[in-house]
Each structure stands twice: as structure tokens, then as C-alpha cells.
């Protein structure tokens, strides 16, 4: 088996195109994914027209100055603004595709906002419907930013309203139209009334009437004390408490993306190599010589699995190290990476030899390997809830039959934590099962 392994490595060394593909392909994937993850999503280009006259971006609500530019800037964090001079230009930018959408801030926005919510200003948003995917992307980005701006503004209005209520409760100075007014406040009024009531004779009709007013003032104080919380509920009716459960809790998106990238690359390298190298033994007619007792059939399969797994494991580790240069990964878990990579590679290699044994020709084996691997990887990434339960159950069963899902789980666990033993055991079972299929396929291999 040692000599066969050396022979295969020698053949690989003399196939520069194949070796280049085996090295360049995963390195390119690693660089692309690392770059994509480290850069984050790009901002959509949005034509931006602000019709508010210069210097009038701020407004006053109940004595509190609110700067409108502050909210406009929040939009610019999520979009790439393309400044335009007028509405026609904004429409043209969207129509020509230079901008995915246009956002027009009306001139009366400041005036309407300064009414403190009595009048509602309207923002104009224009989308280009040519590409539904892009439209959906920019629409959701703008809607999300608008929701955030609405929430921020309503929070500001709530603060102003709370100040008024505080003034009503505790009293103080109120500024209106440039003049200051002293407000007594309910609590002070109640205290004064209680003093007056105490000075009146018990049982007198004046004291009885005054006590009713004091009782009402108490009720008003108690309920207005709750108004701040009530206003908070109005500005943000739903409060979200987030709890994550399952193996992937606290798992960063980057780690999962790295696990997916490495597992997919390893799968292609390993399955194609194992399938191709086994089928090559038949295409070179060498199998008939080997099968005479020079190498046992099981030995031949073990050699092919070892060869493909070795190459894929090296590729997998190289990818992890490459991606690690871009993305934060826990290098302390390196031994677990090695374990996951080795088991995953063995699982893929066993699938590869089964394909090679069944297909019997290198080209057919390569095509078979590719056509099988791609959908297996895609369906294994379908999240629960994305489809109906019956279909999802079928997907789970199909995913469990092939090594991609357990390999991904093992890689994910190795990178981010979680139970690794079960996916490794799953992979061992699949190695045995696909090894058995490959062994049976060799009966008609000669």
C-alpha cells in the first residue's frame, strides 16, 4: 500500500494542472471568504436630495433643540449617498441605475417635526424595480434606517413630553414665546391644600370639599408618576429579550462562514480526488494486475482514502490558517481543528471511492462526484423553518446519509465550541458505510 501511495503522489506531482487546481482553488476560496467577511456588506447607492434650506436643519420642541442633520447622518451609515440637486435629477439617477433608490427629504420636514407630532412629515423614497433582488436589499436597508430614525425621534418627543409632565407634577419654570412662567406643580399644590385643610375645623363642609380636591390631586400625582413608563411603551411598544439556544449559541457568524467555506472546499478536493484516482486504476488497466493479489481490494481502497484524505486535510488546514489571517479565530482550538479536518476528510474520501468504484471511469466519476456533492452541500445548509416540516425532515435524512453535514458540524464545533463527538462518530459510520459500498463496487471493476 505504501508503494501505491507513493506512486499516486508521484502521479499527482506530474499533473501540474491538477495540483495547481488543488492548491489554487481552496486558497482563492479562502482569500475571497476572508476578504468578504472582513469587509462586511457594501452600502447601496442612494440618490439623496435634502430640500430643507441650509441652516434650517434644527427645530425646537418644547424648548429642546433637535438637530435634523444628526438623523440624516444615520442614514449615511447604511447607504452610500449620491447627492443630487433636484427631484428630476434624483429620478434620473434611479432610472439610469446609477442609484438603486432615491431619498428625498421635504422642505417642510422641520416645520412639521417642530409641531411635536401634531403634523407628520412625509419622506419620498423612489426605487428602481429593474432588479427585484437589489430592490429588496435597498428597500429593507432604507426601511430599517427609517424605523431607527422614527424610534430615535419618538424617543426625543417622549423626553419632551416627560419634561412637561414633570413640570406639572413638581412645578418649575416654563419658557414659552420667550417669557418664563412659574408653574406650581401638583405636588406643591397638594401640600398647600393639605396645610389649608388642617387649619379648618374637623367636620366643616369647607374642609370636606377641600379633602376631595386633595384626594384628586393625590390620584393625579400617582398616575402621572406612571406616565413616563407609559410613554416609553408608546415609543417602543415591543421590547425584545434575545435568548439563543442550541450548539451554536454565542457563535459568531464569521466562524460559521469559515466552517462552511473549509468544509465545501475539502469536500470538492477530497471527493473528486478519491473518485478520480480510484477510477484511474481501472482506466490505466492496472486494476487487473493489482487485483491478482498484489494489493488486496480493501488495501487499494484504504490507500485511495488515505491519499485523498491527506491532500484534503492539508488543504483544509491551509485554508483555516489562510482565513485566520483575515478573521478572528480561536487559535487555542487548533488541535480540535486538526481532528475535525481529519475526520471530515476521511468521510469525504470514503464517499469519493464509492463514487469512483461505481462510476469506473475518471470523467464519469468526476462528473458524478460534482453533481452529487453540490446539491448535498446546498440542502445541508437549508435552515429549519425555511421550508415545511416534511420537506425539512427529508432534507435532514438526506443530509445525514452524506458526510457534508456531519463534517460541517464537526468543523463548526471545532471552531466555535459545542459537541464534536457526535459528528465525529457520524463520520466514522459514514466512512464504514461508503467503504463497504466501494468494496462491493470493485466486484465489477475489472
Amino acid at each position: 500500500m505504501r508503494w501505491l501511495l507513493l506512486k499516486d503522489l508521484q502521479i499527482l506531482r506530474r499533473s501540474p494542472l491538477l495540483v495547481a487546481l488543488l492548491i489554487i482553488y481552496p486558497v482563492l476560496v479562502a482569500l475571497l471568504i476572508g476578504y468578504a467577511l472582513s469587509r462586511g456588506p457594501s452600502k447601496p447607492k442612494v440618490a439623496f436630495l435634502n430640500e430643507v434650506p441650509k441652516g434650517q436643519g434644527s427645530f425646537d420642541v418644547g424648548g429642546t433643540k433637535i438637530n435634523g442633520n444628526q438623523y440624516a447622518n444615520r442614514f449615511f451609515e447604511a447607504i452610500d449617498p449620491v447627492p443630487v440637486k433636484n427631484r428630476a435629477q434624483a429620478l434620473e439617477k434611479v432610472r439610469s441605475g446609477q442609484a438603486l433608490a432615491a431619498l428625498i427629504i421635504p422642505a417642510d420636514i422641520v416645520q412639521k417635526l417642530s409641531t411635536g407630532g401634531l403634523e407628520q412629515p412625509t419622506l419620498d423614497v423612489i426605487y428602481n424595480a429593474e432588479n427585484p433582488l437589489k430592490r429588496q436589499y435597498v428597500e429593507s436597508t432604507i426601511q430599517f434606517q427609517l424605523a431607527k430614525a422614527n424610534q430615535a425621534l419618538s424617543g426625543k418627543f417622549r423626553e419632551v413630553a416627560a419634561q412637561y409632565i414633570g413640570l406639572l407634577l413638581k412645578g418649575g419654570t416654563f419658557n414659552a414665546f420667550g417669557a418664563n412662567f412659574q408653574i406650581l406643580g401638583l405636588k406643591n399644590a397638594k401640600a398647600i391644600l393639605e396645610g389649608v385643610s388642617a387649619s379648618l375645623p374637623r367636620g366643616s363642609p369647607e374642609r370636606k370639599a377641600l379633602d376631595q380636591v386633595i384626594h384628586f390631586a393625590g390620584l393625579a400625582i400617582d398616575n402621572l408618576d406612571l406616565s413616563n413608563a407609559a410613554l416609553s411603551s408608546i415609543s417602543a411598544p415591543l421590547k425584545v429579550k434575545t435568548t439563543t439556544i442550541g450548539a451554536g449559541k454565542d457563535q459568531p457568524l464569521d466562524s460559521f462562514a469559515v466552517a462552511v467555506a473549509v468544509t465545501i472546499s475539502m469536500m470538492f478536493v477530497c471527493v473528486l480526488l478519491a473518485a478520480g484516482m480510484l477510477a484511474l486504476e481501472r482506466e490505466e488497466n492496472a486494476f487487473t494486475r493489482l487485483a491478482r493479489g498484489l494489493v488486496s481490494r480493501l488495501g487499494l481502497l484504504t490507500e485511495k482514502i488515505s491519499l485523498a484524505a491527506l491532500c484534503a486535510a492539508l488543504v483544509g488546514l491551509a485554508m483555516l490558517i489562510g482565513i485566520g489571517a483575515f478573521v478572528t479565530v480561536d487559535w487555542g482550538r487548533f488541535p480540535l481543528w486538526v481532528v475535525a479536518v481529519v475526520f471530515a476528510a476521511a468521510g469525504f474520501a470514503a464517499l469519493g471511492v464509492a463514487i469512483g468504484g461505481l462510476a469506473r471511469e475518471v470523467r464519469a466519476a468526476s462528473l458524478f462526484a460534482f453533481l452529487l456533492s453540490l446539491p448535498v452541500a446546498v440542502i445541508a445548509l437549508v435552515p429549519s423553518g425555511a421550508t415545511n416540516q416534511t420537506l425539512y425532515d427529508i432534507i435532514r435524512v438526506v443530509s445525514a446519509i452524506f458526510p457534508f453535514r456531519p463534517a460541517l458540524d464537526a468543523m463548526d464545533a471545532a471552531l466555535s465550541g459545542g459537541g464534536i463527538a457526535l459528528p465525529l462518530l457520524h463520520l466514522v459510520i459514514l466512512v464504514v458505510a461508503f467503504g463497504a459500498i466501494a468494496r462491493l463496487s470493485l466486484r465489477r471493476f475489472a
Binding site: W3, L4, K7, Q10, I11, R14, S15, E284, N285, A286, F287, T288, R289, L290, A291, R292, G293, L294, V295, A446
Partner: protein, 269 residues
């Protein structure tokens, strides 16, 4: 694999109607017409091969002596390759018994069974190691010299002509210095010059005492290079004897090719 001569009963072998047929005598006429009594290096008793309902071989029996060249001829689908692959140990027969020294059997498949990306020497070295030849380098040099490929030892097999590739193929079959060499249509797809070289090479091996058993479609080649003919048709061995006996059996013909056609025609082929 043991080095001792052994009999290989087929798994689940069952007696066939011809199982009681006496084994052919251990003596056989040579081309020169003399009879030499020698222990056979190969004895085949009533072997049969089935693939489901398809019968590929039915109760085939024969022997071959050291240094003897035996040609297996027959129409397409007669069972020639099946017979040779059973003798080579690639397949196990459904029934019957084979006696040969498995460790000293050389196998040359019809299509060159060598790695195109490896050089001539690397191929020889690899198979010598797999055959567990005691002195690998000596065996490689010996085969390079015998096949007259020493000058192309470092060339990748993929760059060789079909004839040279076939010589490498035969050299690999001879690495273990076999006492029985099995060749499946060794001259197919070779030009006359290369064919001549291959037969010359095979003849030299026979002179050293190696038993040669080869299949061929070329009846003329069988007549020229074999001491004995085995004629297979429809999975059965229909004739076992010399070319002269075969021509005589057919009657009123002067060459083996005409005899072959008449022989098969008379049997409904």
C-alpha cells in the same frame, strides 16, 4: 499466496456432466512432432464460469508443460479473456479446479496495464516492489535489457509508441520471473514490425522454460507462434492439439485460418 503448487477448488464447485471426463494426458506433441513427458506447469480441470444466467465457460480442461506455447483462439465472446483472467487469479471460477504455482504466474493483459504518468523504470520498479521481487533494481535492469528499452527507461510510458508500451506491459508480467506467462491478445493494435519483436521476445522466454499461454484473434499468428491450439467457442473447449492436427481435422483445407472457419461453420458458428 504460497510458493508451493496448489490446487484451487472453485467456491461452491459442483460436478458438471463432463466432470468424469478423463484429464488430458500429461504428454503432448510439440511442433517438431516429438513427445516429451514432463510435469505440467498448468492443469485445468473442468472449470466453468457463470455471470448470472450467462455461461462464459463450460467444463474446460487442459494442461500445459514448461516451455510450451499454447494459443487460445476462438470467435468474439468465446470465453478467451475469461479463461485467462481466471488463470491469472483476477476472477474465481464458478466451478472446476486449477493447479498452478500462483506465485510464478505472469500476467499480461490485453491493454497495457501500466501507469502513463510514470517512466518505464518507475513502472517496473513499482510492480517489482508489489510483486515482492527480492532484488528490485536487478529485476528492473534485467527487464529493461530484455525489452531493449534501457534507452527509454526515464521516459514516461505515455510518451511511448503502442509497441513499446506493450513491451513494458509484457516486461511487467515477467518481473517475477514466472514459470507460466499468460498473455491476453498481446499483439493487438501493433504494427507488423512491433508484432514481430513481441513474438520474438515471447519466444525467447519460452526457450528458457517459461510456459506461454496466449489468446489471439489472429489464427495465422497462433499457427506460427504456438506449439498447441485451444479452440474455444460458445464457452466450450472444442479442440486441443497442434495446428497440423487442426488442419487435418477440418479436412480439404491447407491452412489453419481456413480450417478454423470450416471448423466453426461445421459446429454452427
Amino acid at each position: 499466496m504460497s510458493s508451493a503448487t496448489r490446487s484451487e477448488p472453485a467456491p461452491g464447485a459442483t460436478p458438471t456432466p463432463n466432470a468424469q471426463r478423463p484429464t488430458p494426458p500429461l504428454t503432448s506433441p510439440t511442433l517438431a512432432g516429438t513427445t516429451v513427458a514432463t510435469e505440467p506447469s498448468l492443469r485445468v480441470d473442468d472449470i466453468g464460469m457463470r455471470y448470472g444466467d450467462l455461461v462464459a465457460l463450460r467444463d474446460v480442461s487442459f494442461t500445459a508443460k514448461p516451455g510450451e506455447r499454447v494459443a487460445v483462439i476462438g470467435p468474439n465472446g468465446a470465453g478467451k479473456t475469461t479463461l485467462l483472467s481466471i488463470l491469472a487469479g483476477i476472477q474465481r471460477p464458478s466451478s472446476g479446479r486449477i493447479s498452478l504455482d500462483r506465485e510464478h504466474v505472469g500476467w499480461v493483459p490485453q491493454h497495457a496495464a501500466v501507469y502513463r504518468k510514470l517512466s518505464v523504470a518507475e513502472n517496473l520498479r513499482l510492480f517489482a516492489r508489489l510483486e515482492k521481487v527480492p532484488d528490485v533494481e536487478d529485476a528492473v535492469q534485467r527487464m529493461l535489457a530484455q525489452t531493449r528499452l534501457a534507452g527509454r527507461a526515464d521516459d514516461e510510458v505515455g510518451t511511448l509508441s503502442g509497441g513499446n508500451r506493450q513491451r513494458v506491459n509484457i516486461a511487467v508480467g515477467l518481473l517475477s520471473d514466472p514459470r507460466l506467462l499468460l498473455l491476453d491478445e498481446p499483439s493487438t493494435a501493433l504494427d507488423p514490425r512491433h508484432r514481430e519483436r513481441v513474438w520474438e521476445f515471447i519466444g525467447e522466454r519460452a526457450e528458457t522454460g517459461t510456459t506461454i499461454l496466449f489468446s489471439t484473434h489472429n489464427v495465422g499468428e497462433a499457427e506460427r507462434y504456438a506449439d498447441r491450439l485451444l479452440v474455444l467457442a460458445d464457452a466450450e473447449l472444442l479442440f486441443d492439439g497442434t495446428a497440423a492436427e487442426f488442419v487435418a481435422l477440418a479436412g480439404d483445407v491447407h491452412d489453419v485460418e481456413a480450417a478454423f472457419v470450416r471448423f466453426l461453420h461445421a459446429r454452427g458458428h
